[in-house]
Symmetry: D2
Subunit: 160 residues, 4 copies
């Protein structure tokens, strides 16, 4: 479903492996290493590959409001994290320029949520990524669409 990128930006990732899957994994590992915010929010990287990623969150007391319902801020955060791993997976530094989220169902205390990001389009430096947030039972909680922009002059994240 994703658009093939006909005019890929030149990569800044001279040291990255040629294999797309290995590149995605190495970049994700470096991003995780540096990103206190995602880890601190309780978000885990589950899987990553070229143009895709999955993240997970167990809904804890700190994520809910007084009605025991996960706050929309954390649903966005979970989806945004998957988007971020996916849009950086090609080894070119890429930033989020924006995104839209639709909240469809409530997620409750104790539920295990997973966000799955797939690349919908990559044209020049512009990318679009669709992220679906589901409960463990497979019910859709939120749909997110992220907009990214490659910034090849920025260094890719490393493990240094």
């Amino acid at each position: 479903m994703a658009v093939r990128h006909t005019d890929r930006v030149s990569t800044n990732a001279a040291d990255l492996p040629a294999d797309p899957q290995a590149t995605a994994e190495r970049v994700a590992k470096a991003m995780e290493h540096h990103d206190e915010a995602i880890r601190g929010a309780g978000i885990r990287l589950v899987d990553v590959g070229p143009g895709r990623a999955r993240t997970a969150l167990t809904v804890e007391e700190r994520h809910v409001n007084g009605h025991g319902i996960a706050h929309g801020g954390y649903l966005f955060f979970l989806a945004d994290a998957a988007f971020s791993f996916a849009c950086n997976s090609h080894g070119v530094s890429t930033v989020a320029s924006g995104g839209d989220v639709a909240f469809l169902r409530a997620a409750r205390l104790g539920e295990e949520l997973e966000a799955e990001a797939v690349e919908r389009a990559l044209v020049g430096r512009t990318g679009l990524y669709d992220v679906t947030v589901r409960t463990g039972a497979g019910e859709v909680v939120a749909e997110f669409r992220g907009r990214s922009r490659a910034v090849p002059h920025l260094p890719a994240p490393t493990l240094d």
Copy 2:
């Protein structure tokens, strides 16, 4: 700038004061009381009134990535919180159905951010709220537009 609501939904807030400002304050106090998630993320309510609200966040270590830049998830969270206080300020239970955020500048460790939400339109049960996130120096970091839907059959938050 906000649209006047010509066909207001019937309120579920029989016990709320008749004064719009007092209503906004009482609802916000009850929401704060019940919302662990906002407080836990480090977000503070600064001001609230009919159809508007301001929230603040000091960018701490836990909010940033390895480059010392606030994570987009927390920028969304801050804006979404202001939106939530603003769209509930009329005393009718209202939920976020979605929102769009544009990230315009990086916010750095130690910066004091403020999100200001204003009501742009309220037509029937549908509301639109514009939220601008600024640094202490007044630079715009993000622009958010939230979509809300009133659910008058839900009880309004109380301090019980």
Copy 3:
């Protein structure tokens, strides 16, 4: 990929056939019959089914600007039309509450464009539809996401 609707709204379409495909076709035929605007803009319905539709537009002189590039307004129009057929395909009157479009490539004079709408989520009365606009060569020109709301008390379109 579309979410199954667990809590379908009650249909207002007592006279519609029980077969989902036949329902989609009959509703589309009635919509086409009444909709001068779509036809007048040069947009044609190509195919319709339960939760999906395809529309087409040949880029003519009247659709382009001085550089021979199709105006974004017509790209939106084409996508919105596919969305409209798709979200009404279940036989329940449904209105567009909004949508987001990303313009990815220019479409030129003489090109044959097709918009393909698929249902992404249908939860209660709220629907999300993804529409991709492609050239005849399969290049993606625009990506649209439409938000719909069922209004079961409105009569479904008929051929009267």
Copy 4:
């Protein structure tokens, strides 16, 4: 309300007047001259200035569906046209990268609609423009937010 642009892109408009208002008017005149699509859809430019524009449309038979309600495609088109004049008003060639529209009320046959675009943010090459579509009676029909990107290497429109 609009963000001041601290890091304006270098202009490609060497021949444009130094006065911002005169620049906006000259660019708009050239855009109108070249744009068959806007004129053909029945959209008129009413007013333009630095970072802002107003367009108008009288809802005719060709703009409505069978219920006598203006098609969402034309509401988007009207808003998008105002956005386009506004984001090009500084004399730097600028393209629409996308936009979001919320449909709030129906507009009927014979109504005079006006779209007012204002610059909300301009940071580097990225712009955000808010467009409100109102009836002659001042009721809000739709709210649009356009996203633009300056492309200074493209020539500005001229009257040639």
